[in-house]
Amino acid sequence: MTLELISFLVLAFVAIATAAGMLVSRNAIYSALFLVLNFITVAIFYLLLGAPFIAMAQVTVYAGAIMVLFLFVIMLLGAESIAGEFNWRRATFPGLLSLLLVIQSTYLLIARARPSGEIAPPEAAVNTVENLRSLGTALFTQYLLPFEVTSILLLVAMVGAIVLTQKEKRVP
């Protein structure tokens, strides 16, 4: 067992354990905090895979912005006191179905996917500015249209959120 494999297994255990904690915890705040931990573990996986920019975006956007929004809404609604327990009796059938899903998707991804083999540890060059620069160049040349569409999507989402939460004006 190499050091890399050990660190992978420990991180995978943490990721699965925090996801399970998110599922079964009674309090919505605890669920959100477990999910933050899970996102941070996945960010470390991105670093191991040689994607430092995605790892940082994950930490800032997911673990930072999105989860703070979740916590804000939970506290605004007082939803932490709303009982919503994990129902073990109701969970058996979905659990069996998802076990089937794990087996099926793993089989399909491993048997049908073209790339196979082992992932080499990322080189130090991945963390340089040059690498980030080529990522940005690809984003603004080859993928310019999706980038612009994303900006429109974010604008629409912002307008939608404002329209949904503002008070209705009485028509005179």
Partner: protein, 100 residues
């Protein structure tokens, strides 16, 4: 050297845990969090493939997925707040006004 299969299995497990969360929990906020978990699991698989193919495209795709998730959360949480205001509950079993 970690085989890519390990990443695929981890991603499948995380995705299925998200599916269980959507099917079992009745709290709308937890269901939303489970959806985020599923998006995250698929992102992990995409980054693993992009890493083994030594290509940027997967990472850029994951970047788009993250921004779409942010937009989705903004609108979805606004909807949940509105539902809570009108029904005083975010239990998805109670949202059955359209049921005949």
């Amino acid at each position: 050297m970690i085989p890519i299969n390990y990443y695929i299995i981890l991603s499948a497990i995380l995705f299925s845990m998200g599916v269980v969360g959507v099917l079992v929990r009745r709290n709308a906020l937890i269901i939303f969090m489970s959806i985020e978990l599923m998006l995250n699991a698929s992102n992990l698989a995409i980054v693993a493939f992009s890493s083994i193919l030594k290509s940027f495209s997967g990472q850029i795709f994951v970047f788009f997925v993250i921004s779409v998730a942010a937009a989705e959360v903004a609108v979805g949480l606004a909807l949940i707040v509105e539902i809570f205001k009108s029904k005083r509950s975010i239990d998805v079993d109670q949202m059955s006004s359209l049921k005949g």
